[in-house]
Symmetry: C2
Subunit: 596 residues, 2 copies
């Protein structure tokens, strides 16, 4: 395959081939005709660059043809350089190392604690990726949750892309680490088929904790020219024909992969969703509404699960946890594992909501990036957005989350300003494909909307509007309330301002923005509790870039490093409070007057 | 302090107070009058929320007043909710857990392997943050590098924000884990002053490996109402006066913090920078030019150090490693530790360049975010940007890096298209404050610029220009070459196109863009090998938003999930090749013609 493609990682596949062969022939239970069945075992190649090995398994199982195999890495083939769910038997994309095992933890959690199915999760790991901290998050969580249905196989071939790993072939070090993290660990020769068989048997019969096979292997096994030689990572073999001859010549091995016992229970029926209702004029934090709405959603939808990174009393995920403890997972302060578990849970049919402080979602950004390539559907909630959190200071303030999460393929980015709106958006997220993100606020904010108002993803809400509007003020979250105050101030000066609550930042309601821009002579002020780059202002500009007369836009955003202080002091210092909004509006109106 | 501020984490400080007192009184060597001296020990509060303890140390050392202390968390006080370098004795911001120890590894690397100074690094860690994988990256790397000058102190108070940790008071589990990762580990009672003294003495006399104190402590120690009681995290005490009385009444303890032996060597002289030179018309990958230029920079500047995440033969950091092995650190596949080490190295006066695939920098995004709050100055290089990498597929393609790294406070984002330009930008980065990011390409690209041309950060280059230009094409990196081809095609149709190489995306050359927009009737096409959100197109829109006549902009970007394929196939499929650029330009010109 690699020779035909002139690229790929054959030596990384060759080291793990014996391990995979015994696993697939004797232990894996998988129905290729019904790959999404929760009764199936899951097979995750955490070392996704060994894709040729995975595809060789598919060939041996008879589900792809010789021709398919030879189209490896060509445009249009589902057999890409690293596995993705473009392949029906792949659950999640891998290729960013250190992700397959924590995702496997999510899958194993579902089988063990939600579905109580006998299915197992098998994860093939590289030894180089054991340097990723996310692997140790997975080790700790898997043991904590008693995931004896999870088996990790570490292909200790000693050589990374550029040279030897820190641990080399010192299997006992891996064993000691795994045991200290609560796993059963078996050191073995990864080319001794009987030893592999015995170790896999032991893994399946160990209860109460997960098992790891620490397998000493040889990179490039079977071809003398590359066996255990540094410098052959990620390169096709120089002479593939000679290598095939050395490996025993062309063969056409077929294996019968065992199918699981079916016996899948019916999906429980959904109930009616009864969202929380908040009284107009009261003050409620959107983060609290998130918790209330999520608990309500959990009551109506038995497939909804929630996870949090040890801050559930701040994000209010605890409201769900109290209502539905059997569907709540505490992931502690391990945001990579938090998001990875959500990816694993959704891969086997659950609908996860994962929350932490919005600032700390940045810890799991690579996991979110890869989840999009996995075509994953789940929701993130980040609380404590922006300078409005106040005294805790900049380390706790998310000011880059809108930008970074807009730049995730197919994502949805929502930022409500009131509790009823939050509740409606939580319900809408649960019906939305892809990765949806809800940004919530620490402080309580006035309830602006009736509990009966509807809020669609991709919409916005015009809060103030008249025929004499001269300028449009666009905010989201806390800045909607500042924009309303600014409109009041401007009204006293006989400047009528349209006010838009841009609660759906992606997708964005370009049409309503366009109408507002046209109605107010192209004068727009955007205001956001976020850095200037990639947030609300840039989203509005992008939405209107192809207008016949693009708008004049003043973008108010946080430009200096914030400090500790009171929320209102910090909004003022950042230049995103009502006073600064009104000043920007005046500037636009005056400028046009001058021009005219 | 917390009572006065009405917020803060007093119970998290109380658990570690005895540990800190013995450390500061007997072991820390720090000259408060010369805090940046490399002879100083470094003290890092990885559990940054225990800031009141750190500030109490400052009070005991006599460097802040009673009045300062009582302004904790108020706007304008340097004593913020979590420590930042606004305080002269703080090297790095903490408050996102799991970062202090990996940053301490960087500081200890400098002292041990670069400066060969007897200074030590002390890191106070929370037990909750031991769930962060980044802590285990730090454990592995510290042992790998033999950092016996590093001591971690884990304040095992058992209780996190919301409840008990996974490990609780099981000190032996922490000890086993630390030992399996190669550390010397000492379990002790964290309130037994003699035991603390003995453990710290043992840490200072252990050679060849780092030491961790695993200290059993009581959260809220000393105040019965909150001692070891869940639910008091992040809350001021209910009755501070009673608590103070219970703790022995108001005292005014002074300690004399020992100063280090000075004996700092002179900074070595800088040499003349001799950048690599590439011949016009040849083809050289910008990633290769990065390595060449970095090696040249290393020869001229003895403070430059390089780090890479086990892909130095792809990023070409290996060129530096071969030229200056004593200033190169292999960080293996642990991107969080990679960036954290850079933060630690720069905090003690070095000038780090850290590289990996641009896609995998997303793994360290929270570390970059926090580094900006640390006012850190260092450079990142991300190779293998965009779909132009080809066959490896989407997991290896950075398509969100411009957006995410633009949204870092004070960052610089550069994306060269040719080798000579890359070399000049590497040199410029080394003179640039803050976090600078260089995005490089996998494929070789034509050398467009003479080695004598200069490229300033914040500039751009007009590659084609005439008085009859009807449209402006703006690219960066690989798309500059596509834009040039598109201009050739358009020229054959008598459409003159201005072509701009926007190699500096942040800061951006708004003036040149404005001139181009005015010269070409506001017709702009931006083209980027990146998602549409937050990249080149959005940066251009933002730069021109306040023009009197904002431009009409068509933004070409990657909108569908890419696949494996040949680079040119993928550029075409994404709609960012010459053909699509020419089509967009024609559309803009035709539209204006219609309107006219």
């Amino acid at each position: 395959m690699s020779a035909a493609a002139k690229s790929g990682h054959p030596t990384s596949a060759m080291s793990a081939a014996d391990l995979a062969a015994v696993l697939v022939d004797g232990y894996l239970r998988f129905d290729f005709d019904d790959p999404k069945s929760p009764a199936n075992d899951r097979l995750v190649f955490s070392k996704g660059h060994a894709s040729t090995l995975l595809y060789a398994i598919y060939r041996a199982a008879g589900v792809v043809s010789e021709e398919d195999i030879l189209e490896y890495r060509t445009l249009g083939s589902m057999l890409e350089g690293h596995p993705t769910p473009a392949i029906p038997w792949v659950d999640v994309a891998t290729g960013s190392l250190g992700q397959g095992l924590p995702i496997g933890v999510g899958m194993a959690l579902a089988a063990k604690h939600l579905e109580r199915l006998p299915s197992r999760v098998w994860v093939l790991c590289g030894d180089s990726e054991m340097a990723e901290g996310s692997m140790w998050e997975a080790f700790e969580h898997a043991a904590h949750f008693g995931l004896d249905n999870l088996t990790a196989i570490i292909d200790v071939n000693r050589l990374g892309q550029r040279g030897e790993t820190m641990v080399g072939w010192d299997l006992e070090t891996y064993v000691a680490r795994a045991e200290a993290f609560g796993w059963s660990a078996i050191a073995l020769d990864g080319h001794d088929l009987d030893a592999i068989d015995a170790a896999l048997a032991q893994a399946t019969s160990t209860s109460g904790r997960p098992t790891v096979l620490v397998a000493r292997t040889t990179k490039g096994k079977g071809v003398a020219a590359v066996e255990n030689v540094n410098g052959y990572h990620g390169k096709p073999l120089d002479d593939a024909d000679a290598a095939i001859a050395e490996l025993g010549g062309v063969t056409d091995i077929r294996i019968e992969v065992a199918k699981p016992d079916a016996a899948v229970s019916e999906e429980p029926a959904r109930g009616t969703l009864e969202l929380p209702r908040y009284e107009l004029g009261t003050e409620v934090a959107t983060r609290k509404a998130y918790g209330d709405a999520l608990a309500a959603l959990g009551a109506a939808r038995p497939d909804v699960v929630a996870l949090d990174g040890e801050v559930s009393n701040s994000t209010f995920a605890e409201t769900f946890a109290k209502a539905h403890p059997e569907r709540y997972f505490e992931m502690y302060i391990a945001e990579q594992q938090l998001v990875a578990a959500a990816v694993g849970l959704q891969a086997v049919g659950w609908r996860p909501f994962a929350s932490t402080f919005a600032a700390f979602l940045s810890r799991a950004y690579d996991f979110v990036r890869m989840a999009a390539i996995s075509r994953a559907t789940f929701s993130l909630c980040g609380s404590h957005a922006g300078v409005s959190i106040g005294e805790d200071g900049p380390s706790q303030m998310a000011l880059e989350d809108i930008a970074s999460l807009r730049a995730i393929h197919g994502s949805t980015v929502l930022h409500p300003c009131d509790a009823n709106q939050t509740a409606k958006l939580v319900a809408a997220m649960a019906e939305t494909e892809g990765i949806s993100y809800l940004r919530t606020l620490r402080p309580a904010t006035p309830v602006l909307y009736s509990p009966d108002e509807e809020f669609a993803i991709g919409g916005c809400r015009v809060l103030r509007s008249s025929e004499s509007d001269e300028v449009t003020l666009i905010g989201a979250g806390i800045t909607v309330h500042e924009a309303l105050k600014a409109a009041d101030v401007l009204a006293q000066e006989d400047i009528a301002a349209r006010v838009i609550d841009l609660y759906s930042i992606k997708p964005i309601d370009g049409e309503t923005l366009r109408v507002a821009a046209e109605a107010t002579a192209g004068r727009l002020v955007t205001v956001e509790d976020h850095w200037p780059e990639g947030g609300v202002g840039d989203a509005v500009l992008a939405a209107l870039a192809e207008m016949d007369e693009p708008p004049h836009l003043i973008k108010l955003a946080v430009r200096e490093l914030p400090k500790s202080g009171k929320p209102e002091e910090l909004l003022a210092r950042a230049g995103i409070d009502a006073e600064h909004i009104a000043a920007a509006a005046r500037q636009l109106v005056a400028k046009s007057a001058q021009t005219a």
